[in-house]
């Protein structure tokens, strides 16, 4: 039980991070990371839709016929996106404005359909909600981190607070978006391979020691 919780939590945030590892939902990631605040707003909206759609799809997974499951998933997702859109428009107009066109485009965000297809349609309600939550957190973290880097380098600010007085136009442009994303994926892959190599070496060393001892005894 505990192990599985750990697996779902770590999977969503780190080992299969939707943005950095699976490279899904790239459109909002590139477009909205000009500021760290956008990352939080988009992340929260996507997390809400992910949790709700995972919940409903998991509940209905035995009712929805296999042949029409994709249209059914899309309908469920589109419903929740409409709810988020109306709610943001009413209660948080500044965030609604800053997300703009990318808010309705959550419907076609591959992360949500991907989780519906590969997790929620096969697992229980509780696990699906958890998976939605942690996938959403992973997405939010990646977006906010990238947003912070680009905002700091591009405008010298962090969460709209002036920190340094410089501007590198490249990082706030669209070319900078691609570049920052590329660097993030490459660094993420490098760090995770270093960690797994270290683990492997440790495990290898553990299995090796008794053998070496035997060898010494033979000598």
């Amino acid at each position: 039980m505990k192990n599985s919780f750990k697996k779902v939590a770590l999977g969503g945030v780190i080992t299969s991070n939707p943005t950095l590892k699976l490279v899904l939902g790239t459109c909002p990631t590139l477009a909205l990371t000009t500021a760290a605040m956008n990352g939080l707003g988009m992340g929260a909206a996507v997390t809400f839709v992910l949790i709700c759609s995972n919940l409903l799809i998991s509940l209905l997974r035995k009712v929805i016929p296999n042949q029409v499951r994709i249209p059914a998933f899309v309908l469920i997702i589109a419903t929740f996106v409409t709810i988020v859109r109306l709610a943001l428009d009413k209660f948080l107009p500044p965030i609604y404005e800053s997300l703009g066109l990318y808010l309705p485009l959550i419907v076609v965000n591959c992360i949500i359909l991907g989780r519906a297809e590969s997790f929620a349609s096969k697992n229980g309600v509780g696990w699906s909600i958890l998976d939605g939550l942690f996938m959403g957190i992973g997405f939010t973290l990646a977006l906010t981190l990238m947003g912070a880097v680009r905002e700091f380098l591009g405008y010298g600010t962090l969460f709209n607070v002036q920190i340094m007085n410089f501007q590198i136009g490249f990082f706030s442009s669209s070319a900078g978006a691609f570049f920052t994303y590329a660097v993030f994926i490459a660094v993420f892959s490098l760090v995770s391979s270093l960690i797994s190599n270290k683990r492997k070496r440790k495990a290898f060393a553990k299995t090796q020691t008794p053998v070496q001892d035997c060898a010494k005894e033979v000598e």
Binding site: T26, A31, P71, A78, R85, L101, V108, S174, S193
Partner: protein, 202 residues
Amino acid sequence: MAQFIMIVVSAVFINNFVVVQFLGICPFLGVSKDFKSALGMGLAVTFVMTLTCLITYPLYALLARFNIEFLEIIVFIFVIAAIVQMIEMALKKFSPSLYNAMGIYLPLITTNCAVLGVAELVIDHGQMASLIGLSSPEMMNMGFAVLYGLFAGLGFTLAIVIMSGMRERVARLPISKHLKGFPIAMILACFIAMAFFVFALI
């Protein structure tokens, strides 16, 4: 005529869907490994985008008349899914060779942000007026919407074809395994974006 040129330049170059507005990045990175499939995907998306604008633009006016425009997302995604499904069936029936060539890309078009993106964009008259240089939002009409859909699709095709050419070359180079795949593709996209940025300065 001047308006027509303005739409072409704006949709294809200045506000290129892929590298400036970040719409349709998934197929841009996923289906750009070789020239032929990139061109096929681009043209298929262009066709669907044009058809989508043609249907969703009047449909939105209809929804607005009944005061249920909040249903737009659900209605639009269903229109797009239906169009893609119909194209798939029509191709299967009338041109099996084309169907076999494009078969795997067709279902992907439904979840392409560029298609839903253009449908959402053309109904936003204020945004469109500034994008294609209309003097007032009221001047926006269905003709402009369909033209914008067509040329935005061609802009997508242009970007994905350029990308495929660059990736075919880069695939032969020795690259660190951490940069292989998505990161190097995004660095290439970064160069394309820089090239397109020049048009915004005009």
